[in-house]
Amino acid sequence: MGIGMAAINAGVMFMPDGTMGNLFLDPMVSEPDQLMNIMQIDFLQPIYVLMFSNGLIACFVFMGIGAMLDVSYLLDRPFSSMFLAMFGELGTFLTIPIAIYFGLNIKEAASIAMVGGADGPMVLFTSLSLAKHLFVPITVVAYLYLGLTYGGYPYLIRLLIPKHIRGIKPEQPKRKKKPINSGMKLTFAVLICTVLSFLFPVASPLFLSLFVGVAIKESGLTNLLNFISGPLLYGSTFLLGLLLGVLCEASLLLDPKVLILLILGIAALLISGIGGIIGGYILYFASGKKYNPTIGIAAVSCVPTTAKVAQKEVSKVNPQAFILPQAIGANISGVITTAIITGIYITLLS
């Protein structure tokens, strides 16, 4: 991303008509004839037009994420996981009024508020649907901050959860649940994808991508799984980063609106993190002080970073406490709730 930013700003050309341009890509071109011409000149334009601006790259990333998920953790505790995930989305909602206070309209506000969901592909998808003129800075802000969750959330956990609570060992269920095999997980993926796509047709490409990844993982198609979780995921992430870097022209970064987006982005992530911990505390008190509220931070759906952060912080206090299964369940629920919220925003606001 950094090397892309450096190259785009260094490689500026002055055209005969006095305008500035480059040989990387032009995100503002939309006329078909002009687009066909420019795709033969700018080397990254085909990737931008055919993968980025239609959300295909987001779907590829989602497919890769799906191929890494184990839905059995979600199937084990659906209610607590989804409950936490809703609290982990608090930033996605509360940032909207704040953004409107800063002078954005509701579509722009909803697009930047999606950063609170901590899900890059969702932010890309929402901003493309609701605020196409701002999708470059919003996506850049989102991806910049998603890297910060790994560094910032541990401090939030230490600040809000005292050591003796952080070290609570999760209680084993009194009655052992029946094990879930791959066939069941595959059937689950098909059923839930169908239902969610029916409920939110606008977000159905994302649901399909996620659950296709899950289905491939569970069907045991090793070659396909290796392709999706390897070259496809890492290739898409690489191209995404490179394109985002190339889109960061100086004129864009110096726009005062981007500064507002930077503030709103970090506010959204912070509120979501606090929201997740509040959800954790609610379950902690509801369970008679037996639930570890640190799991709440994993409801912020940055798969699997936040779950790992939660486990790491708990292990520092109590190495015997193993919260990762619950944290991964909340993490996966976070992905599903972010997709639900994307569907709600695009349906109600577009």
Partner: protein, 121 residues
Amino acid sequence: MGDVFVKTMIMFVLAFIISMFVALLINWIRRLLTSVRMNSFFDERSKRLVKRAISIHKIHHQQLNLISEAIEEKEHSELFDFFEGVNDDFEPSEDFHGSLKLLPRRKRNTRKHKNIQPKSK
């Protein structure tokens, strides 16, 4: 500003309701998938048992119904190992009076399973 806040809260409540509905759905799907009957689609061992049950069903329709009811009422909890599916150590057998009873599986049918002899009085 107030309108936006109200609108946001409405969207939050809507998202919360839908998420809880999805959680309910996930729970329902899990229960459906792990039920004994559905389990036979995924588990080879259960599949074999269901096949056998169907063949017995043809011969002893009435008796099997009684056993099914007994299973459902959990009177014969030994029939099922609730963590691993159906217990293969038992089989329905006819006694001298012609009524069907659950007895430990006979040796001829169970090469893999240990032969459990009925307790001598």
